[in-house]
C-alpha cells in the first residue's frame, strides 16, 4: 500500500518532468532549424545593413580561445556586443575568463563601447538580435536600443 502510493508519486513527478523536458527539447530543435535557414554558423549577421566586420573579428578571437564553446557578436557604429558560452569544465573560472575577454576586446576595439557576457540569457538574446539583423528587419537605432536593453540585463546582479 505504502509502496504503491510511493511509486505513484514518483511516477507522477517523472511524468511531469518528462513532459516539460520534451517540450523544451522540441522548442530548441525548432529554434536550431530556423538558425540553419537564416544564419550561417559564424555567429554574426553577414547580410546586415551595418558593417559587421568588427563583430566578425571579435567572434573569431573569442572562438579561438580553447575555453570557449561558442560565441556571437553584434556591432553598431559605436557599440560592440559579444556573448559567448564557456566550456563547462572551465566555468569555475568564469570571472577571470570574463575579465580577460573583456580587457582583450577593449584593446582590440578601442573605438567601441564593449559589452561582453558569458551569460546564457545574454547569449540567447544576442543570437536573436543577430538573426533580426541578418534578415534586415532592424535598422541601427532599433539595434542600439536592443543592445542597451541587453546591456542593462547583463549588469543586473543577483
Amino acid at each position: 500500500m505504502n509502496m504503491r502510493k510511493w511509486l505513484l508519486i514518483a511516477l507522477a513527478i517523472v511524468m511531469v518532468m518528462g513532459g516539460c523536458a520534451k517540450e523544451k527539447g522540441v522548442k530548441q530543435q525548432s529554434m536550431q532549424g530556423t538558425n540553419l535557414i537564416r544564419t550561417n554558423t559564424d555567429g554574426t549577421a553577414k547580410r546586415a545593413s551595418i558593417d559587421q566586420r568588427p563583430a566578425e573579428r571579435a567572434v573569431a578571437y573569442v572562438r579561438s580561445r580553447d575555453d570557449i564553446k561558442d560565441a556571437v557578436a553584434v556591432n553598431t557604429r559605436k557599440k560592440l556586443l559579444v556573448a559567448y558560452q564557456i566550456k563547462h569544465m572551465d566555468r569555475f573560472y568564469r570571472k577571470q575568463i570574463e575579465k580577460e575577454i573583456h580587457d582583450h576586446l577593449k584593446r582590440l576595439f578601442p573605438d567601441y563601447q564593449i559589452i561582453s557576457s558569458s551569460d546564457l540569457k545574454i547569449f540567447w538574446k544576442t543570437k536573436e538580435l543577430v538573426d533580426n539583423l541578418e534578415n534586415k528587419k532592424w535598422d541601427e537605432t532599433k539595434t542600439n536600443k536592443q543592445i542597451q536593453k541587453i546591456k542593462r540585463l547583463s549588469e543586473d546582479s543577483a
Binding site: 563547462h88 566555468r91 569555475f92 568564469r94 570571472k95 543577483a158
Partner: protein
C-alpha cells in the same frame, strides 16, 4: 545545457550526502546539520569559493541550504562595497530575501489552505 543538468545533479546530490553523513555518522539532529551547512556556505563565500561553484553547478549549488549562507554574505558584501562598514548590517537580506519571504508567505498560505493531519 545537458552538462549543467548533470553537474547540478552531482553537486546537489553530494551536498546532500555531506548532510546525510553529518546526520548518520556524527549523529547530529537535522537542525544542527542544516545550521552547520548554512554556516559552511557563509564561510565558503567569505573565501570566494561558493560563487565559482554556482557558476559550475547552477541550481546544484543554489538549491541546497548552503547557498542561503552564501547569499547572506553576498548581500552584505555588496552593500559594504557601496556604503562602507554599516552596509554589512543593512545589506544582509538584500539578496536572500527570496527564500525567506517565500517561506513566510507560502507558509502562511499553506496554513490557510491545509489542515493539520493526525
Amino acid at each position: 545545457m545537458l552538462a549543467t543538468f548533470f553537474w547540478a545533479f552531482v553537486v546537489g546530490g553530494l551536498i546532500c550526502v555531506i548532510g546525510q553523513i553529518l546526520m548518520d555518522v556524527f549523529k547530529l539532529t537535522p537542525a544542527h546539520t542544516l545550521t552547520i551547512l548554512v554556516v559552511a556556505g557563509a564561510i565558503l563565500d567569505g573565501f570566494g569559493l561558493y560563487e565559482p561553484l554556482i557558476d559550475f553547478a547552477g541550481a546544484g549549488a543554489t538549491i541546497p541550504i548552503t547557498s542561503f549562507g552564501n547569499s547572506l554574505v553576498h548581500g552584505a558584501l555588496q552593500e559594504a562595497d557601496r556604503h562602507g562598514i554599516i552596509g554589512v548590517l543593512t545589506g544582509m537580506f538584500e539578496v536572500t530575501s527570496a527564500g525567506i519571504s517565500a517561506a513566510i508567505v507560502f507558509g502562511f498560505i499553506g496554513a490557510l489552505l491545509f489542515r493539520p493531519k493526525g
